[in-house]
Symmetry: C2
Subunit: 435 residues, 2 copies
């Protein structure tokens, strides 16, 4: 005998979205986008045939070349988005991505009382609050468990399991492409070579700016901030720093400091101000973020009551992301409501106060260290260590200064005159250090 008599109790059927949907009828699913994730969703539905879910429509541009023979014969394949939006599907699964024309499709679906399940971090980061209001007003639901960290249940974890805590900091590795590149560079590879490999494997786009520039991670961080810190921020207030400035010598110095380098996304409330940052940082080799390799994602939520909770796993890829989509669909079919986490609009105005790693690349001459230390002293920034490894040529000499916790803005002011020195071959690289 099964644990539950039927898959859905009658009260759950009544509570499910689409009030007009007859009891017993499965949730009718229209899939928008039949790429890697979309075909994985269809594959899981075909193989696992979870009760209560029925794939009824697939929309894709040029759908003929996408069509497969292993979905039910009843599925309508279409390249007419309007027709699918006007169909009797109960849920639109949006896997096309981007803001336009997808935003309009999602709005139309919600206006018609349909629910929407999406993996579109950009849409949710920029328009999630408005779309959730629209869904609530029209009796549908908006679910986006796949938008952050793909197959890792961070969003349900924050909405359900940690709702009772007060999360004070959220940080993690939210972009698998950057993690792949940096963990390969840690093992000795050069940036350009690893980027080419990531592109070949399909981990990075032809134009990798969204990933390596931090825009993708920024959108995800904004979503996590809403659920964890309960603030609605404009993602563009988070200024990302690219990983493209990291060179092999930085990994070498990081190792000497007991650290490695990861693209970290991080937000916290500090003295009633909100700080948020995305970019490469030094992380302690003994910390969970240093363990994260390849395309893995990781999220660490630090609660006032529960302490640190770590989630990690495959943050991207067709199958893991599809698991999050199918889980959201099952939640809809079961009439599962998320715990509404109230949030308030907020500005990103604070700054972290962290130690920094500053790497210089200079044509050597007397007086450089004196100039740098003098500049730091004028901003009251304490030096922790000066490291200069042997074996580099004097005409392109890398060396590192680490400083005690300070604000990035103070460090930026201190480095202003240093950047102008004629011996500087590149912009000094400053990275926050997490301990």
């Amino acid at each position: 005998m099964s644990l539950v008599e039927g898959f859905l109790s009658s009260s759950e059927r009544l509570a499910a979205p689409g009030a007009a949907r007859p009891v017993n009828r499965p949730l009718r699913i229209a899939l928008f986008g039949f790429g890697t994730v979309g075909s994985s969703v269809a594959r899981i539905l075909a193989e696992s045939s979870p009760e209560g879910l029925e794939l009824t429509h697939v929309f894709n541009r040029g759908v003929a070349r996408k069509r497969v023979d292993w979905t039910p014969a009843s599925v309508v394949w279409s390249e007419d988005a309007d027709a699918v939006l006007a169909s009797d599907a109960d849920v639109v699964v949006e896997l096309v991505g981007g803001l336009d024309p997808v935003g309009a499709w999602v709005r139309r679906a919600l206006e018609n009382g349909k629910s929407v399940v999406t993996a579109n971090k950009k849409l949710i980061a920029f328009h999630g609050v408005e779309l959730e209001r629209l869904a609530a007003a029209r009796g549908g639901h908006l679910k986006y468990g796949a938008a952050v960290a793909g197959g890792i249940p961070v969003i349900p974890g924050l909405e359900q399991g940690l709702a009772g805590d007060r999360i004070e900091r959220i940080e993690g590795i939210l972009n698998g492409t950057c993690n792949f590149i940096l963990s390969k560079m840690e093992a000795g590879a050069e940036y350009a070579e690893v980027l080419a490999e990531a592109q070949k494997r399909g981990y990075a786009e032809a134009d990798p700016t969204e990933d390596v520039g931090g825009l993708d991670a920024r959108a995800k961080l904004a979503i996590l901030m809403r659920l964890a810190l309960r603030v609605q921020v404009d993602p563009e207030e988070i200024v990302p720093r690219p990983i493209t400035t990291i060179t092999p010598v930085d990994f070498s110095y990081a190792r000497d400091l007991g650290s490695t380098i990861r693209q970290v996304s991080r937000a916290e409330r500090a003295e009633e101000r909100l700080a948020a940052t995305v970019g490469p940082m030094l992380v302690d080799q003994r910390s969970p973020m240093a363990w994260s390799r390849g395309t893995e994602n990781m999220v660490i939520a630090s609660g006032r009551y529960g302490g640190d909770v770590v989630f990690s796993g495959h943050g991207a890829g067709g199958h893991p992301t599809a698991v999050a989509v199918v889980s959201d669909l099952l939640a809809l079919a079961h009439g599962s409501r998320r715990v509404e986490i109230p949030s308030q609009p907020a500005r990103v105005g604070g700054e972290f106060e962290l130690p920094h790693y500053i790497r210089f690349l200079v044509r050597d001459r007397p007086g450089i260290v004196a100039a740098i230390t003098g500049a730091l002293a004028r901003e009251q920034i304490n030096i922790r260590a000066i490291l200069q490894k042997p074996g580099y040529p004097a005409d392109a000499l890398p060396f590192v200064v680490t400083v005690e916790p300070c604000k990035s803005s103070a460090l930026r002011r201190a480095l202003e005159p240093v950047r102008a020195l004629d011996c500087m071959l590149v912009e000094p690289l400053d990275l926050q250090m997490l301990e």
Copy 2:
């Protein structure tokens, strides 16, 4: 403006348990047990005052000595369980533990249409299926997010975020006391000394058998098996092995093998058979389980589609466990339904096929290795390595044999004649090795 207009939408209020509960009235909470976790729950409710939740009753034996002055004056403090069960509370939070008389109280609460939130792993492992049926029949809900891995949202993660996957293996570190003891032993301490420290710090009971013997972890594993592998098992079919047989020399040999030792709980489907085990095992130093220190818990769910997902954090303690309880209460107040995961009764009949570590302690004499290798050969078990470190006395000589993957039952048969050898000073210790 808040993200949601009110805290609960009207449809959510209607969907909340206790159908007779008027719209707008908060959920009335009766706390059974005001020990570490119970007082933490009251503390979070007092400090965070989450909307929709109201503490109305506290039951504890000898309640006078428990009474505090920072809960609302309206709270009824009582040592009469029957009176509290007959009260107008909507939810009973059961934090007393054990099967008797707690099982009867929980049944009575559910029979009266109340919901129950509990951290009682034993009750859920042995009677969860029956109690869930009772709750469903009477219109209440049973929630037990705090029963496994305290503050880590593993249960919501499995019910919500991973419901769309097919989990094939679940494993982890489910007992903080054992992890505290073993990670301290890894750093050089002796078992008895660490146990005493754990008892002093309140991590271990005066009688530590439930923890070190594996009974606590076994109950938690049975609960995870229901949610992850979708099987209802009798916890007593999982035979636990105690950590008390581990000695410092085992950590020394484990280190030479690139491993350490943890109490691991593990279950998987292998060739249509269900294998489940709890006990000390060798884990690779580079694996997530080796990173887990102190009283931390960790759960790794391996899905067919999503791969490995790791959850870790504080598995025990008042505040982390209380976070899970308050999160369950919020889910009830919001009318959140869990995704019902259907499960089937099943027997634990399979065996893992893993490499093993076997440590012998002998009074040295010629022919011992020949006897052991001969015994293993008769069961077709291949030796991987024989390790004998210098520096031990010949009259109490520890040495280790590791073998290629085999079933524990075959190894037990092979070791039968070896155990009888007159030179064996203690039972040979065999541990599974996770790679």
